[in-house]
């Protein structure tokens, strides 16, 4: 087996290569201050771009209106999903509307019988609570 690598090179390659490689010290010396500043400028430009895009995004989110200036739509938009008031306050009798209908036990029993509630359940509801 021929142990020579089975590749060839273009004619005159190694002579030209030697001349090209000998220029490396001069090329390295000619590296200017701009070559050192350029990466820092690139990073600064990237950060400024990110800040600019971020500020544009934040500007597109509408601020909450000042108190007293909001219309009903805006009030609903900014209202909390969880009510601030006591959720059980709806059971407070003092807040019941004045035109509320009142029911006596006869009405309630009639309703339960009509709805097919069993006698046992009616007794439990009326007398055990």
């Amino acid at each position: 087996m021929n142990r020579k690598l089975p590749y060839k090179t273009p004619e005159g390659y190694f002579e030209a290569l030697g001349a090209r490689l000998s220029e490396i010290p001069q090329t390295a010396a000619r590296r200017s201050a701009w070559d050192y500043i350029r990466p820092s400028l690139a990073y600064a430009a990237l950060i400024l771009f990110a800040l600019g895009v971020g500020s544009l995004l934040f500007r597109s989110v509408p601020a909450a209106p000042a108190a007293g200036e909001a219309d009903s739509y805006e009030l609903m938009y900014y209202a909390d999903l969880v009510p601030r008031t006591d959720p059980y306050a709806i059971f407070d009798a003092a807040e019941a509307p004045s035109d509320a209908v009142s029911y006596d036990s006869e009405d309630i029993v009639s309703y339960l019988i009509d709805s097919g509630t069993s006698l046992e359940t009616i007794n439990t509801l009326l007398y055990d609570y």
Binding site: M1, N2, R3, K4, L5, P6, Y7, K8, T9, P10, F14, L17, G18, R20, L21, S22, I24, P25, A28
Partner: protein
């Protein structure tokens, strides 16, 4: 011309051809070998002020060249993976399409068998078989023990023999 530049030019004159073939055997392309060789000598120039002669200039330069070639291959591996191709397939295609390939069919099969080896086995095989480096020199270049290198070479040799047997069927 100062001392450093003179030393650099001596290294260029003495080793440029051998380093080219070392890199060429790894990257399987003349154009890529030329690029990697250029990068290698830029690194040699930058590292020259810090070279204290702890190692032989030969093994020092070979270590730089090997690392440059392997870094290049790692990037090629990522590029190949993005195209759903393996590095091995990429290198085999390069061997097939290489206008500077100057061997016969058996040498082409050998080149393809070598690129199918894992990286460490491929490296030690090429340095031992084609470049005729001693195990001690390869150990200095790669940082691997002589015993491990001998084992790698033996395994690589057997794998290649098996592949060449199959390809001749």
């Amino acid at each position: 011309m100062d001392n450093l530049e003179q030393t650099f030019n001596e290294i260029v004159a003495k080793y440029r051809e051998r380093l080219y073939w070392h890199i060429r055997s790894l990257v399987c392309s003349h154009e890529d070998a030329d690029d990697v060789l250029q990068d290698c000598f830029v690194k040699i120039w930058k590292a020259l002020p810090g070279f204290r002669g702890d190692a032989e200039p030969f093994t020092w330069a070979w270590r730089i060249a090997t690392n440059e070639a392997l870094n290049f291959l790692h990037k090629q591996k990522v590029r190949a993976a993005l195209s759903f191709e393996s590095l091995r397939t990429t290198l085999e295609n390069r061997i097939d399409e290489d206008p500077w390939f100057d061997g016969d069919a058996l040498q082409r099969d050998l080149a393809k068998a070598i690129v199918s080896l894992p990286e460490k086995q491929r490296l030690v095989f090429q340095m031992r078989y084609f470049e005729d480096l001693s195990y001690e020199q390869i150990s200095e270049i790669t940082g691997t023990s002589v015993g491990a290198l001998k084992a790698s070479y033996h395994i690589a040799y057997e794998k290649i023999r098996e592949k060449l047997k199959l390809s001749s069927l």
